[in-house]
Symmetry: C2
């Protein structure tokens, strides 16, 4: 059976595109366009530019992202 | 180093609370309250009751959930 080492896991689930920490290491958020980041990272990013760092969709206001409760 | 078998993986990331398939086996959605389901499951569920199956928050309209793009 296939085994997942912690290195494979990091590859599989990916990193936060802002800080490059493994997704799930820090509290998560999803944008309403469905892209995931550390919540601290997306909050800081949206103070600088009101777009999704992944897909560039315009993201205005508090309803444009939310905490995401996954056990990654 | 710790290994993750596919069984451990299923336990770790959990199942869709509606159909009990492993989360990520089917296309995913997140509610705006941050809870994850198969997108088909949450869409069907919201036609029956306009609440999050996990936290019971009232969920009205298309903006209450969105596709979630994670490589689970
Ligand atoms: Zn981050
Ligand atoms: Zn996006
Ligand atoms: Zn499901
Ligand atoms: Zn919920």
């Amino acid at each position: 059976s296939k085994k997942f080492t912690s290195e494979n896991r990091a590859k599989k689930f990916g990193d936060c595109p802002i800080c490059w920490d493994e997704l799930g290491k820090n509290p998560l958020a999803s944008t309403k366009c469905g892209h995931a980041f550390c919540i601290e990272c997306i909050e800081k990013s949206l103070t600088v530019e009101k777009k999704c760092p992944t897909c560039r969709r315009v993201l205005l206001g508090k309803s444009s992202y939310h905490p995401l409760y996954l056990n990654l």
